[in-house]
């Protein structure tokens, strides 16, 4: 009870303290201040992912709240085998994809894309990484959710192929192929929208 009435002040927690150490401290003390630090570190990033995937600001705000409740209630299940950021991003992606499935029944999320089994052309990373932000946002909004999410995992969250594979329950070679296809799709949509720039 005393914790709830007189929580440790956020300023008492060193800024250099790792996420994993904060989780340990939170679990052992149940002090809200530790959770507050994690919230401040990640809420904006989680909101960014939600708005990229859900494309609706109000939906994204509600989702941030629900995702943090999930994180809070499942904190004890965090084993420390992966990075804390990877763990919470996987909760975020699963939550958003599930929300899209329930709301829109996006067909790209329900079935594997069987239309193209050719080996895709390799798109240079620089093409994506150096793109002007406005255009990047437009193209990301236009491509299917499954392609958008895998590109965010790779280039925004800098997750390894192995980590993405664990999150999506796919082999590493399958993930590499999915990334290639997503990049190819991205380039195709970009070319369609910005014909004059190509």
């Amino acid at each position: 009870m005393i914790n709830l009435l007189f929580p440790l002040l956020t300023k008492d927690i060193p800024k250099t303290m790792s996420d994993e150490d904060i989780v340990k401290e939170y679990l052992s003390t149940q002090n809200v201040a530790y959770f507050d630090v994690l919230y401040k570190r990640y809420s904006g990033k989680i909101f960014g992912k939600c708005i990229s995937l859900l494309k609706d600001e109000e939906d994204a705000e509600d989702s941030v709240q629900e995702i943090f409740m999930k994180i809070l209630l499942n904190m004890a299940k965090f084993s420390g085998k992966s990075r804390f950021s990877t763990w919470i991003y996987s909760i975020t992606y699963n939550y958003c994809i599930d929300r899209i499935r329930r709301k829109k029944k996006d067909p790209s999320l329900l079935v594997e894309d069987l239309s193209n089994h050719d080996v895709p052309e390799d798109v240079n990373d620089v093409f994506l990484l150096e793109m002007e932000i406005g255009r990047l946002k437009v193209v990301l909004d236009e491509i299917p959710t499954k392609d958008r999410s895998i590109l965010l995992m790779k280039y925004q969250d800098e997750m390894s192929i192995k980590e993405i594979g664990q999150l999506l329950d796919k082999s590493e070679s399958a993930i590499k192929m999915k990334i290639k296809r997503a990049k190819q799709k991205f380039k195709k949509v970009y070319t369609e929208i910005y014909k004059e720039a190509v």
């Binding site: 009870m1 709830l4 960014g48 994506l128 946002k137």
Partner: protein, 81 residues
């Protein structure tokens, strides 16, 4: 690994987009954060109450399931008085 090293660039527009979106969210951080912390406080309070009163509730149920106190106990109490 070779593939990862290929096409390396210092710029990352995806990160920049993330930073801009986080900035956009900053104005709402306090509102949503307080809602989450409110829920957290409620959960904590409920767990504290459960922790404090659970043993007493168990006692009450045990007493209820055992029925009225036995007459022998009452007799012993009367003798003590």
């Amino acid at each position: 690994m070779a593939e990862d090293n290929k096409n390396r660039t210092k710029k990352n527009s995806f990160k920049e987009l993330e930073r801009q979106q986080a900035e956009q969210y900053r104005k709402n951080t306090e509102v949503v954060g307080n809602r989450v912390k409110g829920s957290l406080g409620t959960i904590g309070l409920i767990s504290e109450i459960v922790e404090l009163y659970f043993s007493r509730i168990v006692d009450v149920f045990l007493k209820l399931s055992a029925g009225p106190e036995s007459p022998i106990n009452n007799l012993e109490k009367e003798e003590e008085e």
